[in-house]
Amino acid sequence: LAKTTQPISMDSYEGQEVNITCSHNNIATNDYITWYQQFPSQGPRFIIQGYKTKVTNEVASLFIPADRKSSTLSLPRVSLSDTAVYYCLVGDWEGARDDKIIFGKGTRLHILP
C-alpha cells in the first residue's frame, strides 16, 4: 500500500477555494487515488477518485500530475459546512493484491466565517 502524507490541518474562509495536497511517492502503476470526507460522529463519505490528470464532479476537483506522486483535492468556494476531515487514500482497488482500504490521519479542514 502506498503511504500518503497530508497536512494535519488547514484553515480557510468561507467563499475561498481550498486545495489540499497529498503526497504518495511510492504509488504503484495500478493504484488509484481516492478522497473521502468525514464529519464528526459520521462515517467517511467518498468524494472523488482519479488515476491521472484531472477529475471533476459536483463536489470537488482532483488534480494529478503526470508522475502521480502527489494529488490535490480542490474544493471551490467553501462554506462552513465543509469543515471536516479529508482523507487521501491510494490503492489498487480492482486488483487482487489485497483488500485493505486504509485511512491515514487525514487533513482537518476548518472553515472560518
Binding site: S41, G43, F46, Q49, Y51, E94, D98, D99, K100
Partner: protein, 115 residues
C-alpha cells in the same frame, strides 16, 4: 445514494461482556468491512469480508473479534469480552464489487462505550 444501516447506534456495556454490532447490507453489495475510530483518532481498518470469508484483517482484529454474515443476512461484528480500550465508534462499510472505484459506502456508526 445507498444507505448502510447500523445497529445499535449506541451501546454501553460492562468490561468483559460480549457485544454484537450489526449492519444491514445494501442489495448487491458483496464486499464488507469493519472499521473503528477511537475518539479524536483516525479511522482504523479492522477486517474485510467476502464470500463468507475474511479477506484481510489488521493486528487489532485479534481472537476477541469475529465477523459473520449468516445466510446472507446482516453483517455482524462480535467482540467476545470487551475491554475498556474497545470504546470507540465502529463503522461498517461495503462496496458492490472489486471494480476500479475505491468507493466504500459507510454506515453512521455504532458507538460502543465500555465501562
Amino acid at each position: 445514494e445507498p444507505e448502510v444501516t447500523q445497529t445499535p447506534s449506541h451501546q454501553v456495556t460492562q468490561m468483559g461482556q460480549e457485544v454484537i454490532l450489526r449492519c444491514v447490507p445494501i442489495s448487491n453489495h458483496l464486499y464488507f468491512y469493519w472499521y473503528r475510530q477511537i475518539l479524536g483518532q483516525k479511522v482504523e481498518f479492522l477486517v474485510s469480508f467476502y464470500n463468507n470469508e475474511i479477506s484481510e484483517k489488521s493486528e487489532i482484529f485479534d481472537d476477541q473479534f469475529s465477523v459473520e454474515r449468516p445466510d446472507g443476512s446482516n453483517f455482524t461484528l462480535k467482540i467476545r469480552s470487551t475491554k475498556l480500550e474497545d470504546s470507540a465508534m465502529y463503522f461498517c462499510a461495503m462496496r458492490p464489487d472489486r471494480g476500479a472505484t475505491g468507493e466504500l459506502f459507510f454506515g453512521e456508526g455504532s458507538r460502543l462505550t465500555v465501562l
